[in-house]
C-alpha cells in the first residue's frame, strides 16, 4: 500500500471575486522510504500540495489518503491525531516555540501525544544528539543560529518516529554550508530509518540529492508524478 495517494486533487483560492486555481488535478502516489523533492517556480502550487499531504488543508476536489486513511472523512480531532502520530513538519521559518528550550521544543509532539515527561525527555534528547545538538538542549531558539534552529525542527519532526516528514523549503533561510549539513542529515535519516521525506525546494544542492523529483508548473505535475 502506498503511503500517500492523491487522486485528482484540485485546490482553488477565492480572493474576493477572483478564483485562483492553485492545483488543477493532481494524481500522485508516494511509497514509504522515498526521498522526494517537489519543485517548480514560485506560485506553481508546491506549498499547497504539501499542506494537503500534511492534512492541514482541504482540497476543493479530489481525495488524499495517508496509509489508506482518507483524510476528508476524518474529524478535526482524528486529523490532529494523524498529524501527531504519522507526520513530522519542518518549516521554512523553523517555527520553534520561543518560550521553550531546544529540548522542550523537541518534547512537544510527545507531550501532545500524552507521553510521560521522563520518557518524552529521553526520546527528545536522543533525537537532539542525533542532530548534533546534545550540548545546546537548554538553549532557547533566540540564542541559536538558523542552522541550529532547523536541526531542532528536524529533531522535533522525527521525535514521534513518523512515517512521513514534510519539509517546506527547509534550506531557504540557511547559508550554503548549513544547508549542506541539513540536506546530509535528512538524507542520512531517510536511509537509516526509512522515513519518507517530501520537501519543496528551489535549492539545486538539495535537488541533486533526491531519488525522485516531482516538478510542478501552474498547478499541474509536469514531471515525476509516476515512478
Amino acid at each position: 500500500m502506498a503511503l500517500i495517494e492523491m487522486e485528482n486533487i484540485k485546490k482553488d483560492y477565492f480572493l474576493g471575486e477572483t478564483v485562483v486555481h492553485a492545483l488543477k488535478g493532481i494524481n500522485l502516489q508516494i511509497d514509504k522510504g522515498e526521498f522526494i523533492a517537489v519543485w517548480g517556480p514560485s506560485g506553481s502550487g508546491k506549498t499547497t500540495l504539501l499542506n494537503l499531504m500534511g492534512a492541514i488543508d482541504d482540497p476543493t476536489e479530489g481525495e488524499t489518503a495517508i496509509s489508506g486513511k482518507k483524510i476528508h472523512s476524518l474529524s478535526d480531532n482524528e486529523r490532529s491525531e494523524l498529524r501527531n502520530e504519522t507526520i513530522g513538519f519542518i518549516f521554512q521559518g523553523f517555527n520553534l516555540i520561543p518560550v521553550l528550550s531546544a529540548l522542550e521544543n523537541v518534547m512537544l509532539p510527545l507531550q501532545i501525544m500524552g507521553i510521560s515527561g521522563g520518557e518524552a525527555k529521553t526520546r527528545a534528547l536522543k533525537r537532539l544528539i542525533e542532530v548534533g545538538l546534545g550540548e545546546t538542549m537548554t538553549q532557547r531558539p533566540a540564542k541559536m543560529s538558523g542552522g541550529q534552529q532547523q536541526r531542532v525542527a528536524i529533531a522535533r519532526a522525527l521525535v514521534t518516529d513518523p512515517s512521513l516528514v514534510i519539509a517546506d523549503e527547509p534550506t531557504a533561510n540557511l547559508d550554503s554550508e548549513t544547508a549542506r549539513m541539513i540536506i546530509a542529515l535528512m538524507r542520512e535519516l531517510n536511509e537509516k530509518e526509512a522515513t519518507t521525506f517530501i520537501f519543496s525546494t528551489h535549492d539545486q544542492r538539495l535537488l541533486d540529492q533526491v531519488k525522485r523529483l516531482v516538478r510542478l508548473e501552474d498547478g499541474k505535475i509536469v514531471n515525476g508524478g509516476s515512478k
Binding site: 500534511g54 518549516f91 516555540i97 518560550v99 509532539p109 515527561g117
Partner: protein, 412 residues
C-alpha cells in the same frame, strides 16, 4: 499538565509590561474587594456586638403571642406573669447553648431634676444579668459612676446627653413619672448611679436603665414585658429560635421570638447599605478583571497565531489550544490575586500602625477604622477570580483554536 503550566507561565512573562498591567489590575481589584470585605467584617462584628450587648437585646427576645401587635394597647393581657417568667426561664436555661434568660420591662415617661423635665425611654433590667449581657463590651463604653446594682434599688443609669440636659451626674437625685399598668400616674425618686454613652446621637438624650424591681414598682406590676436570652454563640441564633419556640409551644406557652438582628434596625440598615456598596464595588472589579484578561489574551492570541498554527500542525487538538490559553488566563487570576493579597496585607499593616478613627453618621463618638483579615473570604475571592480570568480567556482561546491551520501558519 505540568509542562503546559510551565509554558503558560513563560508566555505570561514573555510580554512583561502587558502582563504586569493586567496582574496589577486584578491585584488592585482583589485588594479593593478584600479590604472592603475586611472592613465590613469588622463593622458587622461591631454592630452585632452593639446590638446584642450594647443595646442589651441579647440574641433572642421572647414575647407573649400578640404583644408586638397589640401589646401597647392592652399590656396586661400580653405581658408574662411571674409564674410564666419562672417557667420560661427554667425551660430555656435547660439548653446548653443558653447562657442566661432574664426578664425586662421597657417604660417611657418623664424625668425631672426638680426644675425641668424631659421625656425618657428606659429598660428595666436585672442588674447582674445586664452585666453578663454587656460582658467585655462594657469596657468599650465605660460607665461614669458605679452603675446599676442591687444595693441601691432606686439607682439608675442615664445616657450622657440626657444627664447633661438635666444637669445630673452620679450621686444627684431626680424624679421619674410614668403611667402605671392600670393607667394611673406614678412618680418615684431616683438617684443617678451612672452616666453612659449609648453610642447613638438619636438615643443619647433619651435613654435610661434601671433595676427590674424598681421598674415593676414604677409600673405597679409583677409582670414582665419580655424575656431576653443570651446564647454562647451568635451563629446559633436561628437554630435556637426554632428550638426554643418548639419547646415553649410544647409546654403550652404561646409566644413569639424575635432575633437581635430583626430588632436592631440600625444593624439591618447599615448591613443593607454595605451589602449594596459591596455588590457595586464587586461588579466594577468583575468588569475590570474580565476586560483586562480578555484584552491580554486577545493580544496574546493575535501575536501567537503562527505558534498556534505550529502547535496544531504538530497535532494539538482544538481543545488543547483552548486549554493552553485558559491556563494562562487562570494563572493571571492566580498571580493577580497573590498581588492583591500582598496589597491587602500592606494596607492592613499600615492601618494597624496608624490606628485612624472616624465618626460615622448618627454615632456619638469616633470609632477606630479596623480592617480584619478574613482568610476564608480571601480564599473564596481568589478562587472566584481564578475561574473568572479562566472564563474570560475562553473566548479568545476558542477563537485561537478555531483558526485554520494553514492561515495561522502563514500569519505574520
Amino acid at each position: 499538565m505540568k509542562n503546559w503550566i510551565k509554558m503558560a507561565i513563560r508566555n505570561i512573562l514573555r510580554n512583561k509590561r502587558r502582563s504586569f498591567v493586567t496582574l496589577v489590575a486584578i491585584g488592585v481589584g482583589f485588594a479593593a474587594v478584600s479590604l472592603f470585605r475586611g472592613y465590613t467584617d469588622n463593622t458587622y462584628f461591631g454592630l452585632r456586638e452593639s446590638a446584642i450587648r450594647g443595646e442589651g437585646l441579647g440574641h433572642l427576645i421572647v414575647y407573649k403571642a400578640g404583644w408586638l401587635q397589640k401589646g401597647k394597647l392592652d399590656p396586661e393581657r400580653y405581658m408574662f406573669s411571674k409564674e410564666e417568667v419562672k417557667k420560661i426561664t427554667e425551660i430555656v436555661t435547660e439548653e446548653k447553648d443558653v447562657v442566661l434568660a432574664t426578664p425586662q420591662i421597657h417604660l417611657t415617661g418623664i424625668v425631672s431634676n426638680g426644675n425641668i423635665s424631659t421625656i425618657f425611654l428606659a429598660q428595666g433590667v436585672v442588674s447582674k444579668d445586664d452585666r453578663t449581657i454587656k460582658g467585655a463590651w462594657a469596657s468599650f463604653r465605660p460607665i461614669t459612676g458605679e452603675g446599676l446594682n442591687d444595693k441601691k434599688k432606686y439607682g439608675i443609669e442615664m445616657a450622657q446627653d440626657l444627664a447633661k440636659h438635666l444637669n445630673l451626674e452620679p450621686g444627684k437625685d431626680g424624679v421619674v413619672m410614668v403611667s402605671t399598668l392600670s393607667g394611673q400616674m406614678n412618680a418615684m425618686d431616683i438617684q443617678v448611679s451612672g452616666v453612659y454613652d449609648s453610642g447613638s446621637d438619636a438615643t443619647n438624650d433619651k435613654f435610661m436603665r434601671y433595676n427590674y424591681d424598681f421598674a415593676q414598682s414604677l409600673y405597679d406590676t409583677q409582670m414582665a414585658e419580655r424575656i431576653v436570652i443570651l446564647l454562647n454563640d451568635w451563629k446559633k441564633t436561628e437554630t435556637m429560635r426554632s428550638r426554643i419556640l418548639g419547646k415553649l409551644a410544647g409546654q403550652g406557652i404561646a409566644c413569639e421570638i424575635k432575633t437581635w438582628n430583626e430588632l436592631s434596625l440600625f444593624y439591618s440598615k447599615v448591613r443593607g447599605m454595605f451589602d449594596m456598596i459591596f455588590l457595586f464595588l464587586f461588579s466594577i472589579v468583575l468588569v475590570i478583571v474580565v476586560m483586562s484578561t480578555v484584552n491580554t489574551m486577545s493580544m496574546a492570541v493575535l501575536e501567537r497565531t503562527r505558534e498556534i498554527g505550529t502547535l496544531r500542525a504538530l497535532g494539538l487538538k482544538r481543545k488543547g489550544v483552548s486549554l493552553l490559553f485558559a491556563i494562562e488566563g487562570g494563572l493571571l487570576g492566580f498571580l493577580g490575586s497573590l498581588i492583591g493579597m500582598a496589597l491587602h496585607l500592606s494596607v492592613w499593616a499600615i492601618i494597624r500602625g496608624i490606628s485612624p478613627t472616624y465618626t460615622p453618621p448618627g454615632v456619638s463618638t469616633p470609632i477606630p477604622l479596623i480592617v480584619n483579615l478574613v482568610p476564608q473570604s480571601m480564599a473564596v475571592l481568589m478562587i472566584f477570580l481564578i475561574f473568572l480570568s479562566l472564563a474570560a480567556a475562553i473566548l479568545p482561546a476558542r477563537r485561537a483554536a478555531k483558526q485554520n491551520v494553514v492561515d495561522a501558519l502563514g500569519h505574520v
